[in-house]
Symmetry: C2
Subunit: 586 residues, 2 copies
């Protein structure tokens, strides 16, 4: 007979919208209670959204967050849900600032917390101990670390509560779980997705379960927040390491499971452990006494290509919706990048809200125009053609533009068309550049780079092709029209800004280029190291030079969903002003 | 009889250019030795430039840096300068990474170091203990903290060496100086300038001197690096707190001074203290034995307005030069912002390298055109007029642009002109927006915001006016032509994108606006707090709404020199996707 019915609320919060986020939690608790749950847990910062960045340094934001948590406790009780124990993630503060220098700069005055609510009250609060300050995370900047482990007793089980990064580090709270008599380790997370993250996250959860002989319940938020996509993938693993429940990725879900952790026997470690006792709703008589059995709820993960696609779709949808847009506009060149972005946008918000514009020039090939028409027809999106010749010619004539200037003006005139349509009709402009282009600066700033969101900015060109083929195959397998024209996939890529131009005139083959970029950008290897791996020295020198000198363009680029371990943006912070030295003394 | 002749080398490094930076240090040591110095010190990271950001996580960069320091030691010796003790700032590594999660993200593998060089060798190395991770600093992200205090004995004086932030914190190395028998505290810095920073920096140096009864020598780098301007202002304070030497702000300088610290008597504290003994060049016979006396070298600081101006000029000049540009181009509207930016550019790189473009539209007033002509004439810059009517009309006609779309297209056509001229002639484009505009989004993205550098992006509108008046007065006092037309200063500001438009139609008076922004942006106060200070509630609501919704524009904006305690950019990291809540429960 399982001891505890647990519900993990995998919600999709909006940063700052406490009322909406709290309402979603109330809904989850209502459903969970109706299904007999004793304990409901949300992800990290589920009431505020995550990451809140420097909002954590605003006293007014923190006061609002604290009030929102207290109000949530009261609301749950007012709605007859107060007997359920609810663990909710939230920022807390303001606390006395950690001393820094005399600057007026943001200062850590907040903690990254999880609180237990019951019977209308905040029963206990714990704070994240390990503050990630690498990759996209700046938590050491804005948070003060916690120093205790919260253990809440419910249904005779000691439930230890830790937050996200605390699970990943061997020291700190997780170490105390071993000695704290906990039967259940509840981990409250806001863990952004990157490709293959499940290959490390689940093994970690499993290892923690077996090494501490506890059931581990891992609850994550879901949804897009600027450049991050949270995938959910909340999971419960028993003390033998077996997955007993798993939520789907990339959508909201309420995951219910009965668990049977070892009952509390008495603590071995008491230092830095905060203990509270909770009522157990289902040990008292009442409507929940005869609990219906739960169906097994263990989601299958999508394959690698689908996971990327789903992440891009969710990231795009949430950027559009959470920022109050209803529609997007993008240029359709007939090439692979814009076709893939259009398909993502249609999957995200529906073809009726996606506006494609073909903007042919004197250099545009017949196939470009027909491929753009074909994409629009296959996706059924809103479509118009705006030739640019009559808009470009006056610039060429007045300014005497030649060479690169004459090439770029075409891309920039297209930008003005898209921004004009955006201003007229309120569309969000999507920019369609891929990671490879962004890396080497193979784009026109204030031209094809304009837009508020860049769906494939963290997808290398070689993966863009693979995604196109995957998406077509998925459509075919469902008997649907393949969204990407075969010709857009198979033809040689070209910016078509001059006669007969092809990308491969200026760049190495994309397979080579992406392999070098993987080393230089993602793995931070130096040029000499990359040459030592067997790449052509002149090619490596040229590629690294292009990457370095494009930093200023990237800095002014739109955000887009992170899919890799090293996305351009806050994941990779490099100076613009930088003169790389040849290696000194080898 | 002073015991020690000290030289502080206030150099202007370029990030990554080890050979150039080292050559500058060799030059400084050569001059210092010729003038009889025993000990020469550079600023923090003087050999690599600062900040190096995630370059600190590249093993190849660190290997190059280590080789550069070793080569510098050998070069000094080879050039007959090896008897002088040289303290140089540099990154060091790679070290074993500080454990983080499984991401491939940058990981701290470096230390922020200072080494003592003598006789061709690296005699000792110490690492920065306190790693700033607030404001513009991300040092906890990329560095591993040091854990010892270096004490180098020279001329019978114990010289304690600490690095920048270590001076600001009461614990750590500075606390050990008290017990370490040091007569001289040498602080190696890369301390960026902000307005009024001297009002806290010098008192801190003075307090350290008196509280530890040591001479304090504070050496800072100088120069622009992306959005930061290092002002130098290297200073030496004796144990009574008296300033005995001070370098000028905003330029390179070699500061020599004779000091007479208490001789070493023997350490009280030995734990976490690394001790080395150095030769003293001037206690041995030789060319330096009969040292000429030094003139007093105590620079006066510029007044507040001049300090801002000098910082903007240096930041602009160094961005241009360090990035390999020879010239800049900017639009001249006849308004105050573009006039001030043009004057900064001329002061930075000379009128012959500054290209101004007047781009009148059908809405441009007669005074706009004549004021633009007047600015160009007063500054003597390169000037042309490119009317936009014939470029705008085809867009209006083809797309049926009206309202905001028709206003924005004008600003965007101007952007295409400037970018076209940049592509043709290799100019860097300067964008002329001020901090107030940037805060409330009162600009056209991909229009007047285009450019690689934004000289006044951290200068509020009210200060732009003050700077213009100051610069004119400075010119008048030297008998020069006042660079800014009086009419550009005194007329009501207007974007002139429609008939009769004035800024104050859409915005509160700039005095009120800047006062609200000071609270909301710089001091991170909430709207309710600002209303409680006495500002009009509707105005506060509107201003904070405008600031919040302009985040995506700011994120795509050019960098420019930080002048305040809270500049837009990495100083203030906020989500784009953010729905501010009304305060809950008050």
């Amino acid at each position: 007979m399982p001891r505890l019915r647990l519900a993990l609320a995998q919600t999709n919060p909006v940063v700052g919208d406490f009322a909406r986020n709290a309402a979603g939690i109330v809904d989850a608790v209502r459903t969970a209670r109706a299904r007999g749950a004793d304990l409901v847990a949300t992800g990290e910062m589920a009431i505020s959204g995550y990451p809140i960045e420097d909002l954590a340094s605003r006293p007014s934001f923190l006061r609002t967050a604290r009030a929102a948590v207290e109000r949530l406790a009261r609301t749950l009780d007012d709605e007859g849900l107060g007997d359920v124990a609810v663990v909710v993630g939230h920022p807390d503060g303001p606390f006395a600032p950690r001393p820094v220098d005399v600057s007026t700069a943001p200062t850590a005055i907040a903690k990254n917390c999880a609180s237990v609510l019951q019977h209308g009250r905040v029963v206990a609060t714990t704070a994240k101990h390990h503050l990630p300050n690498y990759s996209v995370f700046d938590e050491y900047r804005v948070f003060i670390p916690g120093d205790d482990l919260l253990v809440a007793r419910i249904a005779d089980v000691d439930v230890a509560v830790v937050i996200c990064e605390d699970l990943w580090r061997d020291g700190g709270p997780v170490a105390r779980v071993l000695g704290a008599d906990a039967g259940l380790l509840l981990v409250v997370n806001a863990s952004p997705w990157v490709a293959d993250k499940d290959e490390v996250r689940l093994p970690l959860v499993t290892r923690r379960a077996t090494e501490s002989d506890t059931v581990v319940a891992y609850v994550n938020i879901v949804g897009g927040q600027d450049d991050l996509v949270f995938d959910g993938d909340s999971v419960v693993v028993d003390e033998t390491g077996r997955v007993v429940a798993r939520a789907p990725q990339f959508r909201e879900h309420l995951l219910l499971v009965d668990v049977d952790p070892a009952p509390a026997t008495g603590p071995v470690v008491t230092e830095h452990v905060q203990r509270v006792s909770l009522d157990t709703p289902n040990t008292t008589p009442g409507e929940l006494a005869g609990r219906p059995p739960l169906p097994r709820d263990v989601a299958e993960l999508p394959d690698d290509r689908q996971a990327i696609w789903d992440a891009l779709v969710l990231g795009t949808r949430d950027y559009v919706r959470k920022n109050g847009f209803r529609s997007v506009v993008l240029g359709l060149s007939g090439g692979i990048d814009s076709a893939v972005c259009a398909a993502i946008a249609v999957d995200a918000i529906g073809a009726e809200h996606v506006f494609g514009v073909s903007m042919p020039s004197r250099w545009s090939s017949t196939h470009s125009r027909s491929d753009a028409d074909d994409v629009a027809a296959r996706l059924g999106l809103q479509y118009r053609t705006e030739p640019i010749a009559d808009l470009v010619a006056p610039f060429d004539a007045q300014l005497g533009l030649t060479g690169l200037a004459a090439e770029n003006i075409q891309a920039r005139v297209r930008a003005l068309i898209l921004m004009g349509l955006s201003n007229l009709d309120g569309h969000l402009v999507l920019t369609t550049g891929n990671k490879t282009e962004l890396a080497v600066g193979y784009s026109t700033i204030y031209g094809d780079s304009v837009g508020g969101f860049a769906p494939i900015k963290d997808v290398p060109k070689t993966i863009v092709w693979a995604l196109a083929r995957w998406r077509n195959a998925a459509a075919a397998s469902r008997g649907e029209t393949e969204p990407i024209p075969e010709n857009s996939i198979s033809k040689p890529p070209s910016a078509e800004l001059r006669e007969g131009q092809e990308d491969q005139d200026s760049l190495p083959p994309y397979e080579v280029l992406d392999a070098i970029l993987e080393q230089y950008v993602t793995r931070a290897q130096g040029a000499a190291d990359i040459v030592a791996m067997g790449f052509d020295a002149a090619t490596v020198a040229e590629v690294t030079r292009l990457v370095d000198r494009s930093e200023w363009k990237r800095r002014q680029g739109a955000i887009g969903p992170k899919t890799s371990g090293m996305a351009f943006g806050r994941d990779r912070r490099l100076p613009i002003t930088y003169r790389p030295s040849p290696t000194i003394d080898g």
